[in-house]
Amino acid sequence: MFRRDWTGRNPVSKCIIGSLVMGADSDPGAPSAVPWRKVLYERQPFPDNYVDRRFLEELRRNVGVRRYRYWPVVREAGLVTQQLSCVAAFLTLWWYMYQGQLYPFTLLLAGLLCALLGYGLYEALGGPRTEGRTRLADLQSAAIFLAFTFGFSPVLKTLTESVSTDTVYAMSALMLLAHLVTFPYAQPSPPGSLSLNAALFGSVCLASRLPGALHTFAMVTCALLVFALWPCLLHRLRDRAPRGFPWAAALVSLGGIGGLASQSPGGAVLLALAQLALTLLCPLLLLWLQEHKDNIHGPWDEAEIHEDLSRFLQ
């Protein structure tokens, strides 16, 4: 941080400066007939420690600093909140499965319905399509993925059998946390590989503790819907239907809280408080801190290369 009054030194230093000024050849403030120039190649009639009025005149403050407004920031913070709720919703579903209150078939059916609805919405919203990608190709990858997950679900089921349940829970908690921390909130589509991998790893860990192979399959498919496909849809929603986006985020947030409330009212209250703080208080904090921003720039800054120099190598 830069303190504005660099002359505000304590009395001891002033003494030293005083003695400096008294030196025969070292009066830094002596007026002179010739104006001082900021050049080294000329011998100038000034002592080496001379400080001109133009000292630091090229100093610039807060160049290119963005001034935020409250509501747009809140809107963007909604993305963080809903992601938190996504994790909560996923955990709630897992808990229902674990308790046997939710059948894998029900979850799979609901998942299929959601996927179809989401796909339809995604298409309806329009936007750029990946080159050469047809609906058939989408269907094909979905089929391959489902087949493989289904085939491997018995393996996944027994994957963590030799690991103690505490370790599995701790690991999934850690992984879901890592997912939340590393989630690329600025550009949520496609979800960053680290964040997606962490989430899937956490879900596989949890799914392997469920009673049957079909349960595991349903849970992993559900994880894919929540952590991989939903962020893509949300991103497109943000791009193409900016008005709808806050509503979607709010809906998911409330859904997460509601789901958690059905199992653990205390947890739901905590989640709701955390989400309120995230959406309403954190933007306030950002705005408040932004006012204290004091960035300094000047000729000493390293120049940045803005051009795309890779074009010379293509």
């Binding site: 070292s26 000047g298 010379f312």
Partner: protein, 485 residues
């Protein structure tokens, strides 16, 4: 503390063998015992290294006693003598990163104290803000009551975490340093801001080049072509990426243009790729790392010297280029606009298009023959920056600093806490107290009076070259090694 005590006159057997803290030379100006400290010295090569060497030589010439302290470089450890009795201590301290030593604030005190006491040092002069050893020596010197000077050779930003931390450390290190020297006005502004200093204790003394090392020789260049010379480490900060854009752009336009590039570094791959892609093997010569003595031989082959640095405190390279009579084209960054007068340099923005434009202008002038002849450029440049001048101005700083009182411990603690913020200030005030106690402990174990006084090689009573016997002793090859700095 030691400084005050010594000024009062050392007691015991030493008093008849050593002069007082400040000896007075024949001309009446005070002569100092100066200890230059930096992690960067020969066999490492670069701007800081040659600065320390050349400045020390010129100070010895002016009658001061100068020693250099650095860390051991591989097999090069212990004490070495260079030209004119310049004594170098290569201390066995652990190197951490980029030739900078590890710092714990304490572990170097016994060794450094030993050197300072043995050599009867009055002024400790540390170089380069990257040198942990330099900062350590400042810290200990202040604990021992010695006057301190610091030279900053580089520019730093303010934006990222690493610079925020290093700037804080610099604030702590410089807040009670007697005087600071910067190599350009831009560098002074930068240092004053980084360390929140009073600008009046910061002097600007530029770097210099040895003009006799860099003389023009137009017969060495091929006048049927136009040659652009680049001599620089091939790293990002030197703008090598820009160079990789300039080369194809200009080579396609001018069939008689060729590039000679001296230097080595991680960005060499960029230039090699460009050369490969555009089939320019006969027109872009990559010479690899150059020894200092070869730099001139490369420079005189060219018509134009190109510098693409993205940041630079002073930039010796462009002065060397101009001294060899080349047309200089450079980016307008850092302290570069201060270095050469307008008629000797073409300044461009740090973009490929701007640099190409500047180069094309100079090429056109070169073709039409309206450029200054190399001999004229050389004669303009040779008087601008000389080491003698640098030494003279640095001497003034020493004279000024020698008159100042080093802050006693309580004053130092107050300064630290007032100047460096409550948290960092308090922490380092505590460290300063510990350092002081450690010094007392060392003085109790080995009192100053027990430590042998070194024979002066340089300085008012320097024995170098006076007795024939001493001449054979020092390692003869040192002189040759560092002859060019």
């Amino acid at each position: 503390m030691m400084g005050q005590r010594r000024r009062a006159g050392p007691k015991g057997s030493l008093s008849n063998r050593t002069p007082d803290g400040i000896a007075v030379g024949i001309q009446g100006s005070p002569k100092h015992s100066i200890c230059m400290v930096s992690d960067f010295f020969y066999p490492n090569m670069g701007g800081v290294e040659s600065h320390i060497y050349q400045l020390s030589q010129c100070l010895i010439e002016r009658g001061h006693k100068v020693i250099i302290v650095t860390h051991a470089y591989g097999n090069r450890k212990g004490v070495r003598y260079l030209t004119n009795g310049l004594k170098v201590y290569y201390l066995p301290l652990q190197v951490m990163y980029n030739q900078s030593t590890v710092t714990t604030c304490f572990h170097s005190l016994p060794l450094l104290r030993c050197v300072f006491v043995r050599e009867r040092i009055t002024i400790v002069h540390a170089h380069s803000s990257f040198s942990a050893m330099g900062h350590d020596s400042l810290f200990h010197a202040k604990t021992m009551g010695l006057n301190t000077v610091f030279t900053d050779h580089s520019l730093f930003g303010f934006a990222d975490v690493s610079s925020v931390l290093t700037n804080k450390l610099l604030t702590v290190s410089l807040c009670d340093t007697s005087h600071i020297i910067c190599v350009s006005y831009t560098s002074k502004e930068n240092t004053v801001l980084r360390a929140t200093l009073d600008p009046q204790i910061v002097s600007v003394i530029p770097n210099a080049v040895d003009p006799t090392d860099f003389t023009p020789d137009p017969s060495q260049r091929d006048d049927t072509k136009i040659t652009i010379v680049v001599v620089s480490r091939l790293v990002y900060r030197k703008g090598i990426d820009l160079l990789g854009g300039i080369i194809p752009e200009l080579c396609l336009k001018y069939p008689d243009l060729q590039f000679v590039i001296g230097g080595e570094g991680p960005k060499r791959i960029v230039l090699e790729e460009v050369r490969e892609k555009y089939q320019l093997h006969d027109r872009v010569r990559l010479l690899g790392a150059l020894e200092h003595k070869d730099v001139r031989n490369v420079l005189i082959q060219g018509h134009i010297f190109l510098n693409t640095s993205l940041t630079e405190a002073f930039c010796m390279a462009i002065v060397e280029g101009a001294s060899c009579g080349l047309q200089v084209v450079s980016t307008r960054v850092g302290g570069i606009p201060e270095v050469l007068p307008e008629e000797l340099i073409t300044l461009c923005e740090p973009t490929v298009s701007s640099l190409c434009q500047g180069l094309e202008m100079v090429i056109a002038r070169q073709r039409s023959g309206t450029v200054l002849p190399p001999a004229t450029i050389h004669s303009r440049v040779q008087t601008l920056y000389t080491w003698r001048n640098v030494a003279e101005r640095t001497e003034k700083v020493y004279d000024r600093v020698a008159k100042e009182v080093v802050l006693p411990l309580d004053g130092r603690l107050g300064r630290l806490r007032a100047h460096c913020g409550h948290v960092a200030g308090s922490i380092f005030a505590f460290v300063a107290v510990l350092d002081f106690l450690f010094l007392l402990l060392l003085q109790w174990f080995v009192p100053d009076s027990v430590i042998d006084v070194a024979v002066n090689a340089s300085g008012p009573r320097g024995l170098w070259g006076k007795a024939g016997a001493r001449k054979t002793k020092p390692s003869a090859n040192c002189h040759k090694d560092t002859g060019t700095g």
